[in-house]
C-alpha cells in the first residue's frame, strides 16, 4: 500500500448537478434518509436531520421533493419541514431502526428513540435510555449508533469507550461492554449479524463477536502510520462484507480488507482535513461519498477502475495513486460538511453553515 501523498485531481463537472440548499437555522450534525419500502422502486422522500451545538437542539423530519402545495407556496423545490422534536443535548448520531423508528445519540450520554407516523406527520418520543454513557454524575456523550442486522436493536458507543446493546422493549441496556475501548468510540457498523465493528479515536478498528462472551474483541486492527491518526467513521462495502472504508482525522481514507489484519490495503491521502463520513452507495457500490471538515463533498466513481480478479476495484493500488474520478459537489462551500447520505439518486448533506444541500439526480453507473 502506498502511504505517500496521492495525486487526487478533481474532475470538473461536465454537467452541473442540480442542487438545492435550505438554510435551516441550526448547525446540522447528521442527515439520514428513511429506508425505502421493501421491494419498492420508489426512492425514499423523507430524511431526518439532527442539530448540534445550540441552546435548543432539534431532530427534524424533512420531505424532499416537497409536496406540490408547499412547493407552490415557497416557489422553490426546497426540502419541506414535516415535524421536529427539541431538546437541550446535541444530536451526535442518528439512525433509522426501521421505517418508523429513529434512534438518536445525545451528548448528555443518552439514547432516545422516536417514532415517526407518516399518516399524521408527527414525531413522538418512544423510549429513552438515560445516561448509558459516562459515570453517574459525569455523563459523557454517546457518539455513535448502529442497528444490529436483522433486528431493531441498537448498539451505542460513546466517549467513555463503552459499548451498549439496547433493546426497544427493555428499559435498561441488554448488554454492556464497559471497557470496549480506551478512547472514544467514533463509528459503528453492524451490518453483519452478530458482528460489531467499532472504530476509535486512537486509530483502531475492533471487531466484536457477539456470539461469544464479549470480554475482548475478536480482532484489533490498527492504523500505524507515523503521525497520530484518529478514525472518524467506518462503513462496509454492501456486496463485499470484508471490505471496509475508514475516514480519518488527517483527511486520509483507508480501505481495509478485514481478512488481512496486518495493514490496510490502501491508504489514500485524499482530503486536507478530517473526513467525517465515508460511505458506499447501497445499490451502486462503485460510488463512494466522503464529506470533509474543509467543506468539500466528494463523489468517487471507481466504475472505470479495473479490479484484479476477486479483489474489488477499491482495494487496487490505482485508487491510492489517484486514478479515480472524483467530483466535488460543493466547490464554494467553506464550512464543514458534517454528514451525508444517499439512498437512490439524491445526495443529501448537512453543514456547519446551517444549511442542508440536496444534490439531485446524480449520475450513477
Amino acid at each position: 500500500w502506498a502511504p505517500g501523498p496521492g495525486v487526487f485531481v478533481l474532475v470538473p463537472l461536465l454537467r452541473m448537478a442540480e442542487w438545492v440548499v435550505k438554510y435551516v437555522g441550526h448547525k446540522v450534525s447528521k442527515v439520514r434518509w428513511r429506508p425505502q419500502l421493501a421491494g419498492s422502486i420508489d426512492p425514499s422522500n423523507i430524511f431526518a436531520s439532527g442539530s448540534w451545538d445550540d441552546v435548543v437542539n432539534r431532530v427534524c423530519i424533512w420531505r424532499f421533493p416537497a409536496t406540490a402545495k408547499a412547493a407552490d407556496e415557497e416557489g422553490l423545490n426546497e426540502p419541506e419541514l414535516v415535524c421536529a422534536q427539541t431538546g437541550p443535548a446535541d444530536i451526535m448520531d442518528l439512525v433509522f431502526l426501521n421505517r418508523d423508528h429513529l434512534a438518536c445519540a445525545l451528548s448528555d450520554g443518552s439514547v432516545a428513540v422516536f417514532s415517526y407516523k407518516e399518516a399524521v406527520g408527527t414525531l413522538s418520543h418512544v423510549r429513552d435510555w438515560k445516561k448509558v454513557h459516562g459515570q453517574k454524575d459525569l455523563p459523557s456523550p454517546c457518539t455513535s449508533l448502529g442497528v444490529l442486522a436483522g433486528s431493531a436493536n441498537v448498539v451505542s458507543g460513546g466517549e467513555d469507550g463503552r459499548l451498549n446493546i439496547l433493546r426497544l422493549d427493555d428499559q435498561r441496556p441488554y448488554a454492556t461492554i464497559a471497557t470496549a475501548d480506551s478512547s472514544t468510540i467514533t463509528g459503528l457498523d453492524c451490518s453483519i449479524p452478530s458482528e460489531v465493528l467499532a472504530s476509535s479515536s486512537n486509530g483502531m478498528l475492533k471487531v466484536w463477536d457477539l456470539r461469544k462472551p464479549p470480554s475482548k474483541p475478536a480482532r484489533i486492527l490498527a492504523i500505524e502510520s507515523g503521525d497520530y491518526t484518529s478514525i472518524n467513521g467506518v462503513s462496509r462495502h454492501p456486496n463485499q462484507p470484508n471490505l471496509v472504508v475508514l475516514g480519518c482525522c488527517d483527511g486520509s481514507l483507508c480501505f481495509w480488507d478485514l481478512r488481512q489484519e496486518k495493514m490496510p490495503a490502501s491508504l489514500c491521502h485524499a482530503h486536507t482535513l478530517d473526513v467525517w463520513e465515508a460511505k458506499f452507495h447501497r445499490s451502486y457500490p462503485d460510488q463512494l461519498f466522503t464529506c470533509c471538515q474543509d467543506g468539500s463533498l466528494w463523489h468517487w466513481d471507481a466504475s472505470s477502475v479495473e479490479g484484479s480478479g476477486q479483489r474489488s476495484s477499491w482495494l487496487s493500488g490505482a485508487i491510492a495513486c489517484g486514478k479515480v474520478d472524483i467530483v466535488n459537489h460543493l466547490p464554494h462551500n467553506t464550512l464543514s460538511v458534517n454528514s451525508c447520505d444517499i439512498e437512490s439518486r439524491h445526495l443529501v448533506c448537512g453543514t456547519d453553515g446551517e444549511a442542508i444541500f440536496v444534490i439531485m439526480d446524480l449520475n450513477l453507473n
Binding site: Y23, V24, G25, H26, M92, S183, T184, G226, Q293
Partner: protein, 652 residues
C-alpha cells in the same frame, strides 16, 4: 435590557448585589447571608440570576441572515483580494445578494410573526419590530446601492429610483381591486389618489388602465383619449441607455412641450383632476405640491422621485437637484422631529457617507447592516473618495463589532472567527481571546475548535485546547483519551507525565491498563522517551507472554542500555530480569550480564544507603525485601555469568 417580571423580583430582593461577567452576560447574586429573623427573605436569598444581552434577537430568520451573508461576505473578500481588486459589477452583484438575503429575512420574520399564537404577544411584538427594522435596512441599502454602487448610463438613475420607490411602497393591489370591482369606480374616494400615485411612481401603463375605468372615458372620450395619448407617448420610461444625453433631453422636451400645449389649449377643463394631472406632467411646481398629489403619496421620497421624474428626469446622483427636491418634500411631509430613517436617507442623497454610517450605527440595533455596507463601500473605493483616510480602519472596526455581536450566540463561533480573520490589525488578538472561551462540550467540538486554531495559526491556543481536553480526561481517569490528546498536539511533556502515570498504575495494580492503546502506539511512541519506554516495556511483556524469552531478554537489556528508563524503574526492570536469569536455557550472554550487573551496582549504593536510614524508618520489612531482591539478583547474575562464559568458551 428588558427583564422579565420574575427576574426583576429576584433582583429587587437582593440587598447587597454583586455581579460577575460570564460568557456574554452577567451573573448577579446577593452577598448578604440570610438572617435568621427575616423570614420573608428565606425563600429568595441565595438566588443566582443570569442575564444575557440580546438573547431575543436570535431566531431562525436572523440565523439564516447571518449564515447566508457570511457566504457572500467571503466571496466579496476573495474577489477584493484578487489581482485587480473587486470590479464594479462584482460589487453590484454582491450588493444585490445582500439585499435579496435581507428581503428573505423580512419575509421570514413576517411569517414567524403571523405564525406566533396569541399567547406570546410580547414575542410577536418583537418579531414585528424586527420586521420593520429589517425593512428599513432594506430600503436604505437599496438607495445606497443605486446611488453609490451602480454604474448607470445617462437617464437610468431615475428609472432605478422609480424602481426603488415601487419596490418599497405599500402594495396597492387591494385598493386597485376594490376600485375595479366598485360599480362606479370614479366615485371611489381613492380613485384619483391611486391614479396620481401610479403616475408618480412611473407605473404609467397601470395608471392608464385605471383611467380607462372612468365612466367619462366612454361618454366623453376625447378628454380621456387626449390624456391617454400623452401618457402613452411619455419618454424616459423604457430608456435602454443607448441614446445620448442630447437625444434624451430633446425627446423629453418635445413631449413636455406637447403637454404644455394641451394644458394651455384647455383640453382637460371638463375634468379638474385631469387638469391637475396635466400640470403635473408639465412639471409645474405648484401642481406637484398640490394637496391631493401630496396626499396620494405615503412617503416623502415617493413625492421626491415623482417630482424629479417630471422636472429633471436626466438627473445624476451628484446633482444638487436631488438634494433640493428631497429637502423640499421632507419639509412638506414633516411629521415633526425628523425620523432617523429620513435623516439617513437624506445623508445618502447628500453623499455624506460618514454621516450615513454614523446615523446607521447609532440607530440600528444590530451591527450587520453597517459592517456589510461599509465593507462594500471600502472595496469600491468610495470611502477613500469621500476623504475618509481612515476608511479601512472604520470598516475593520465595524466588522469587529459585528463579529463580537454574533459571539453572543453559542453556535456561531466558526463564523465569528472567520469574520475576525478579515480584520488585519486587531482580529488576531480577538481571535486568540475568543477561542479560549469556547466551551469544549464534546470531543468532536474540541476537534473542530482545534482545526479552527490551526486554520488561523493560533498555535498556543491549539496547545491549550489539547491540554484542557487531556487534563479533563485524566481527571476522570481516562488515561487513554488523555494520551491521545497529547499525541494529537505532540505535547511531549504531558505525554511523558502520562507515561509515568501508566507505569505507576502498573506498579500498584500489577498489570497494565489500556493495553489496546499501548500495543498499537506504533511510531507515535517516539514523541517522548518515557512513552517509548512504556511501549517497549509492554512489548517486553508480550514477548515474555509468548515465550520468546531470548528476544524479551534482549529487549530488556536494550531498554536499560539506551538510557530511556527512568532510574526509579530500574529495580522493576531488574526484577523482571530475574526469572529470565533463572531459566533453564540461557537467555543473557556475557555482555548483557555485565550490563545488568552495572545497573544493579549503581542501584546498590542507594540500596545500602537506605540500610543506614532503615533504623530511622519504620518500614523495615520492605527494605529487607529490597535487600533480599538485590542479593537474589547478584546471585542470579553471577550464576548466569558463569554459565555464559562456559557457553562462550571454545569447546574443548
Amino acid at each position: 435590557m428588558a427583564l422579565q417580571e420574575g427576574t426583576q423580583f429576584y433582583i429587587r430582593q437582593m440587598r447587597t448585589m454583586r455581579a460577575v461577567w460570564k460568557d456574554f452576560g452577567v451573573v448577579v447574586y446577593d452577598t448578604k447571608n440570610k438572617s435568621r429573623d427575616d423570614k420573608s427573605a428565606k425563600v429568595y436569598s441565595g438566588a443566582i440570576v443570569e442575564l444575557q444581552w440580546e438573547s431575543s434577537k436570535w431566531n431562525s430568520a436572523t440565523r439564516k441572515l447571518v449564515n447566508q451573508s457570511y457566504v457572500h461576505f467571503v466571496r466579496l473578500q476573495e474577489a477584493a483580494a484578487g489581482p485587480n481588486g473587486a470590479q464594479a459589477d462584482v460589487l453590484v452583484k454582491c450588493s444585490r445578494h445582500f439585499r435579496a438575503i435581507l428581503h428573505e429575512c423580512v419575509l421570514e420574520l413576517k411569517k414567524i410573526a403571523t405564525a406566533t399564537d396569541g399567547d406570546a404577544e410580547a414575542d410577536r411584538e418583537s418579531y414585528v419590530y424586527q420586521c420593520e427594522l429589517f425593512s428599513m435596512m432594506e430600503l436604505i441599502w437599496h438607495l445606497c446601492e443605486i446611488l453609490y454602487l451602480e454604474v448607470l448610463p445617462v437617464g437610468c438613475l431615475i428609472q432605478q429610483l422609480l424602481e426603488w420607490v415601487r419596490w418599497h411602497s405599500t402594495p396597492y393591489e387591494q385598493l386597485q381591486h376594490d376600485i375595479i370591482s366598485a360599480p362606479c369606480p370614479e366615485e371611489h374616494e381613492h380613485f384619483w389618489h391611486l391614479v396620481y400615485k401610479l403616475i408618480l411612481q412611473g407605473s404609467i401603463r397601470e395608471a392608464r388602465d385605471v383611467l380607462r375605468l372612468h365612466s367619462f372615458a366612454h361618454n366623453s372620450p376625447k378628454v380621456f383619449e387626449s390624456m391617454d395619448e400623452l401618457l402613452a407617448k411619455m419618454p424616459m420610461m423604457y430608456s435602454s441607455g443607448m441614446a445620448s444625453k442630447a437625444e434624451l433631453l430633446r425627446s423629453w422636451q418635445e413631449w413636455r412641450g406637447e403637454c404644455c400645449r394641451r394644458r394651455d389649449r384647455g383640453d382637460f377643463m371638463l375634468v379638474p383632476e385631469l387638469q391637475l394631472l396635466c400640470q403635473v406632467l408639465c412639471g409645474e411646481e405648484d401642481a406637484l405640491l398640490d394637496k391631493s398629489i401630496v396626499e396620494s403619496c405615503d412617503e416623502w421620497y415617493e413625492l421626491m422621485v415623482g417630482q424629479l421624474l417630471f422636472t429633471s428626469p436626466l438627473v445624476l446622483s451628484t446633482d444638487y437637484d436631488v438634494v433640493a427636491t428631497a429637502e423640499k418634500c421632507l419639509g412638506v411631509f414633516d411629521a415633526g422631529g425628523g425620523a432617523v430613517r429620513d435623516k439617513i436617507l437624506l445623508s445618502a442623497l447628500q453623499g455624506d457617507i460618514m454621516n450615513l454610517i454614523t446615523l446607521c450605527s447609532a440607530s440600528i440595533s444590530n451591527w450587520w447592516f453597517v459592517a456589510h455596507l461599509t465593507t462594500i463601500f471600502h472595496h469600491s473605493g468610495i470611502l477613500l473618495a469621500s476623504q475618509l483616510e481612515y476608511g479601512f480602519k472604520l470598516s475593520e472596526f465595524l466588522i469587529l463589532e459585528y463579529a463580537s455581536s454574533i459571539m453572543s450566540h453559542p453556535s456561531l463561533w466558526p463564523i465569528a472567527l472567520d469574520y475576525l480573520s478579515y480584520c488585519p490589525t486587531q482580529g488576531r488578538h480577538y481571535q486568540s481571546m475568543y477561542v479560549e472561551r469556547i466551551p469544549l462540550t464534546s470531543e468532536r467540538k474540541a476537534i473542530k475548535v482545534l482545526r479552527a486554531c490551526n486554520q488561523y495559526q493560533l498555535k498556543e491556543e491549539a496547545k491549550t485546547v489539547c491540554r484542557v481536553m487531556a487534563m479533563r480526561a485524566y481527571r476522570s481517569g481516562r488515561l487513554g483519551v488523555a494520551l491521545s490528546w497529547s499525541l494529537r498536539s505532540k505535547d511531549a511533556a504531558f505525554a511523558a507525565s502520562l507515561a509515568e502515570k501508566y507505569f505507576d498504575s502498573y506498579q500498584s495494580l500489577g498489570e497494565f491498563m489500556d493495553l489496546d492503546l499501548l500495543d498499537h502506539l506504533g511510531s507515535a511512541m517516539l514523541l517522548s522517551n518515557k512513552l517509548a519506554f512504556l511501549g517497549k516495556y509492554r512489548e517486553f511483556h508480550r514477548l515474555y507472554g509468548n515465550g520468546e524469552f531470548v528476544a524479551a531478554g534482549q529487549l530488556l537489556v536494550q531498554l536499560l542500555v539506551s538510557n530511556i528508563v527512568p532510574m526509579k524503574f530500574w529495580m522493576t526492570i531488574l526484577t523482571d530480569a530475574l526469572p529470565l536469569l533463572e531459566l533453564e536455557s540461557q537467555v543473557f550472554n556475557t555482555e548483557q550480564t555485565y550490563a545488568l550487573a552495572h545497573f544493579l551496582r549503581q542501584l546498590s549504593p542507594i540500596a545500602s544507603q537506605s540500610l543506614d536510614h532503615a533504623a530511622a524508618e519504620q518500614d523495615t520489612s520492605s527494605q529487607d525485601g529490597n535487600n533480599n531482591k538485590v542479593s537474589l539478583l547478584w546471585l542470579a547474575l553471577v550464576r548466569n555469568l558463569s554459565r555464559a562464559m562456559l557457553e562462550a568458551a571454545p569447546s574443548l
